[in-house]
């Protein structure tokens, strides 16, 4: 087994591992979740139902899962990466076949006690797989075209499935998240230049084909992009989300209207106030100070993750930690850009704050991997 190559005599064993967890990250994550509960309580008009209480239960469940994942040596997870990827892929296909339709997209499998979004699962298993792949790959072959093509295909299969649902937000997250892991793994910058160049080409193509029979995106996705480009064009229709979101956010001012005093969310002017647009409520009630604080918390998580990754001499552990951090970053960066009107509305939740079981569980489990890597790092 590969751990033999490390000086693992200092690696803690048994319950002592708990002491060696990356506690700052756990505290930060709990704080962010706490902010989430606070906001869910507020948008429900000062009530634990229907959102805050279930969210707390899922948080508890997620924390248990995180600890469980953290206790298991990271190399086990590395070896399981391919299996996890395959399971996620099968679930994605299952969703294609039996999934429930919500908001114009097939995204869920109803497991009875919760609705599972395989695309959420894929976000993390893909990071595991790409990290494991580059751990396995001879370091000198990293930028070899054939060996670059392999992970690209591994990424594009789930991306294609996700786009069929259709879920543009997740597709972008999958591509960018994996791309960041590949970037960290040392793939030549020319590939990235090429990809970015062709992305621009594809975006042009997407717009050029609009209105024809073989247009790439659904009409509602085109409309969302239109709306993003000019929200005032249809302030009560498609532009409503962004316009109202900016109004709520902007009306917060420096220090906000005060907790539970946000008029825009309480009076339902804000759409999806408990999910994708929860940040606007926070910004309205706590103002610029509140928004910056949350942003700061997120960046502290990133900082601790990056530090952990740089301290870790295990290639898989480092890459995986960076990948998880990247995915986390993408979540809040895309979400905040969206609610602040600098990105189209693509349906990405604010990590650990937005109401939603799958996302919360997946993120906490992902940080479980990060904890496992931290605990079992070679010393």
């Amino acid at each position: 087994m590969s751990y033999l190559e490390y000086q693992i005599q200092h690696t803690p064993t048994g319950l002592r591992k708990i002491l060696y967890l990356n506690w700052p990250v756990i505290v930060l994550l709990s704080t962010i979740c706490g902010v989430g509960f606070l906001m869910l309580y507020s948008v429900a008009g000062g009530s634990f139902t229907p959102w805050a209480e279930p969210q707390m239960k899922r948080f508890a469940l997620g924390m248990v899962a995180m600890f469980f994942v953290a206790m298991v040596p990271v190399w086990f997870w590395r070896n399981m990466a391919a299996v996890a990827y395959l399971i996620s892929l099968l679930l994605l296909i299952a969703v294609e076949l039996f999934g429930e339709v919500g908001m114009g997209a097939q995204r869920w499998i109803n497991l009875g006690f919760m609705r599972l979004q395989p695309s959420e699962l894929m976000k993390i298993t893909l990071v595991l797989l790409i990290a494991a792949y580059y751990d396995w790959l001879d370091i000198r072959k990293t930028s070899h075209p054939v060996w670059v093509l392999v992970p690209v295909i591994l990424v594009l299969i789930p991306v294609a499935l996700v786009l069929r649902q259709p879920d543009l937000g997740t597709a972008i997250l999958l591509i960018t998240g994996s791309g960041i892991v590949m970037f960290a793994a040392g793939v030549s910058l020319w590939y990235f230049a090429g990809v970015i160049g062709s992305a621009i080409g594809i975006i042009t193509a997407v717009f050029k084909t609009r209105g024809t029979e073989w247009q790439f995106l659904k009409d509602y996705q085109y409309r969302r992009i239109d709306t993003f480009l000019d929200p005032s064009r249809d302030p009560l229709g498609d532009g409503y989300h962004i316009t109202q979101s900016k109004i709520a956010l902007g009306s917060g001012g420096w220090t906000g209207r005060g907790y539970m005093q946000g008029t825009q969310s309480r009076l339902n002017f804000l759409p999806e106030k408990h999910t994708d647009f929860i940040f606007t409520t926070l910004a309205e009630e706590f103002g610029f100070v509140g928004g910056i604080t949350l942003l700061g918390l997120y960046f502290l998580v990133l900082m601790f993750c990056l530090t952990s990754a740089l301290q870790n001499k295990d290639r898989f552990a480092s890459l995986m930690t960076i990948g998880v951090a990247a995915t986390f970053f993408l979540f809040f960066a895309v979400n905040m850009s969206m609610v602040m009107g600098i990105a189209p509305v693509v349906g990405v939740p604010l990590p650990l704050v937005s109401y939603g079981g799958s996302a919360m569980l997946v993120i906490l489990v992902a940080f479980g991997f990060v904890q496992s890597a931290h605990v079992h790092r070679p010393r």
Binding site: G252, T263, F269, G291, A333, M336
Partner: protein
């Protein structure tokens, strides 16, 4: 995977380098987000705060109660009646059509009304209350209230709607209200937000229209916080408006009622003025219409009936009508000549039945001629030739000036619709409006109130009041506003020679008290209440011989002006019966009855009538159905 240590080091170095790059990129992006947040929340905060308040705060107007209108005795003429209606909130009503079905078992509601109500309910947002039935009786409302539990989402409500208790009597004076229309909004320059309330009631005609600004009051305001669906969450602020001013008119409602009843069946009008104050005591015009029908939304059939009626019920003839005054104008011509010093009261003119001027014969109404006529006789007999002669000497300019002094050709500023200015023609007028020179024949026609001269019954009453008092009486309609008396208008002396005035009045006395006067049959026999007046018969068509064998619309207008009591004038009256025939037969008896009614404050004793007229007077008193104003007053004081 076992990896050579060198590879491991290289891997770590590579990852470190790339991670630092990544971290820098993330930080940069985070900085961008922070900057954007700052821009929205700090730099643009004021603007977004404003937009947010616009989002959540909705102002709603509270319509003020419209001012009431009373007559001079405090009898209500326009009131606000409690109007019971039923409103339905769709989201509480379950199945709206089923709810209406149930409702129609309690109150009269046919299929058409139900379909209309259902559409109204479905057209609005689910939480908006929509009126589904209107003008319910107290019993019906009680039935709904009792069945409340079985009728979710349906509640009785009380609103105010305009009511005219005296119904037809004052339709042309008080007018009526109606919902504000786009046409109204385009026509009037009024920024009052109340007008934006759908179906807000504004005055459409008469005093309701002309006194609109006083009667309307000012809007109150409720500030509500609403949610995105427009539902009211809570009231933030409430400012009550001011109700409209209560207006008391100078009209005497029982007298007005008598006049309308007395004139009924004709196309006629009559005006009574208090000669001491200028108060318009009555301003009758028939036929009439029920203004309440307009408030409730008049049916097309009813409206068509009104517009199609040749007697023109929609027109308030007392102020809107302009008629050739005929012989009632002769006092003007006489005074013009006396004032100019061209005749004296005893000078005679011989009437041979006609005069020849400019090669045309101008006939007296009595073709055989009256013989020698002085002022008194000329009025008593209504001799035309006497006035032709005066006209030749006086000229139209002096006649025109005198007619204006006596109140003709002037538009009085009264709060009524389409007040006519009549016409006191002179040479300049003819040149300008007809493009022709004034000829002597025009003067002759004008001297007996024919030709171009036009006067409304109101103007004739004013003229009579001025003759009776020698003062420039100006009519007024509004007695008090919110219990504050409207000051009387100035009525300076007309600066006419009192002897001349007395002679003219004496002539008018002879008209109705001399055995040979044209209105002798319509005299008042009660001493101290005698009447002075003048008959008038104004030609409508030039080629008629007598009034019996011509179509109605070509018959002469019958006029009478008069005042009483002769010795101490109090009331001036004018009566115009369109196409009524001769003034002495069709108008004088009406004027006499009106004056008697005014002087006695009700039906006079029969002794006030000459013996020959008592039978008719008795019949009239028996037949006319007058309104019970005591009941009306009690009802309103109870409300």
């Amino acid at each position: 995977m076992r990896r050579p240590p060198r590879d491991n080091e290289e891997s770590t170095r590579g990852i470190t380098r790339r991670s630092l790059l990544l971290g820098t990129a993330w930080l940069a992006f985070g900085g961008g987000l922070a900057a954007r947040m700052r821009y929205l929340q700090v730099d643009q905060a004021d603007q977004y705060r404003l937009l947010a308040d616009e989002n959540r705060i909705k102002d709603r107007l509270i319509a003020p109660a419209r001012g009431l209108i009373w007559d001079r005795n405090g009898i209500p003429l326009a009131t606000n009646e409690q109007n019971y209606r039923v409103v339905m909130v769709r989201e509480d009503a379950g199945d709206p059509s089923e709810a209406l079905e149930k409702l129609s078992k309690l109150i009269p509601m046919d299929d058409a009304a139900r379909a209309k109500a259902l559409k109204a309910v479905m057209d609005r947002a689910p939480h908006v209350p929509v009126a589904v039935a209107d003008r319910l009786t107290w019993e019906e409302v009680s039935a709904i209230a009792v069945n409340g539990p079985a009728l979710p989402g349906i509640t009785p409500e009380v609103g105010l709607s305009r009511n005219y208790p005296a119904a037809d009597d004052l339709c042309h004076v008080v007018g009526y209200v109606g919902p504000v229309s786009d046409y109204d909004l385009s026509r009037i320059d009024d920024k009052d937000p109340l007008l934006q309330i759908p179906k807000f009631q504004i005055g459409k005609s008469g005093a309701e229209n002309k006194l609109e600004l006083q009667l309307r009051g000012t809007a109150g305001n409720v500030r509500n916080e609403v949610n995105a669906g427009g539902r009211v969450i809570r009231e933030l602020d409430r400012r009550e408006g001011n109700p409209g001013a209560n207006v008391q008119l100078t009209i005497d409602a029982p007298l007005q009622n008598f006049i309308q009843a007395r004139l009924a069946g004709e196309s006629a009008s009559a005006v009574v003025i208090d000669v001491e104050t200028g108060d318009l005591l009555a301003c009758g015009s028939v036929p009439t219409f029920d203004p309440n029908k307009f408030v409730r939304g008049i049916s097309t059939a009813d409206y068509g009936e009104l517009t199609g009626n040749p007697l023109n019920p929609l027109q308030g003839k007392a102020v809107q009508g302009a008629y050739p005054p005929g012989s009632t104008f002769k006092m003007v011509t006489a005074l013009a000549a006396l004032d100019a010093g061209l005749i004296d009261t005893e000078e005679t003119v011989r009437c041979g039945g006609y005069v020849e001027v400019g090669g045309r014969r101008f006939h007296c109404w009595k073709h055989s001629g009256h013989g020698h006529m002085n002022l008194n006789l000329s009025l008593r007999n209504s001799c035309d030739v006497y006035y032709y002669d005066l006209a030749e000497r006086v000229g139209i300019e002096r006649i025109s000036r005198m007619s204006r002094r006596l109140g003709l050709g002037e538009r009085y500023d009264l709060p009524m619709s389409a007040v006519s200015s009549g016409l006191a023609p002179d040479k300049a007028w003819k040149l300008e409006r007809r493009g022709a020179e004034w000829v002597i024949g025009d003067s002759l026609n004008a001297s007996i109130g024919q030709g171009f001269v036009l006067a409304s019954p109101l103007q004739l009453a004013v003229m009579t009041a001025r003759l009776a008092t020698g003062r420039a009486i100006v009519p007024r309609l509004v007695k008090s506003v919110n219990s504050t008396e409207v000051p009387l208008l100035d009525s300076p002396s007309l600066e006419l020679n009192e002897n001349h005035l007395r002679a003219v009045r004496q002539g008018m006395y002879s008209v109705s008290n001399n055995r040979r006067g044209t209105a002798f049959a319509s005299r008042i026999t009660e001493d101290g209440k005698r009447l002075g007046g003048k008959t008038g018969t104004s030609q409508v068509s030039n080629n008629r011989v007598n009034n019996r064998n011509v179509p109605w619309e070509q018959r002469d207008h019958a006029l009478f002006v008069g005042f009483a009591p002769f010795d101490a004038p109090k009331y001036a009256v004018s009566v115009v019966v369109e196409h009524g025939g001769g003034g002495s037969k069709a108008a004088a008896p009406v004027a006499r009855d009106i004056l008697l009614h005014a002087m006695y404050g009700g039906y006079p004793p029969l002794a006030a009538y000459p013996a020959a007229a008592r039978g008719n007077a008795q019949r009239m008193q028996d037949d006319l159905e007058l309104r019970d104003f005591d009941a009306l007053r009690n009802e309103s004081s109870r409300a």
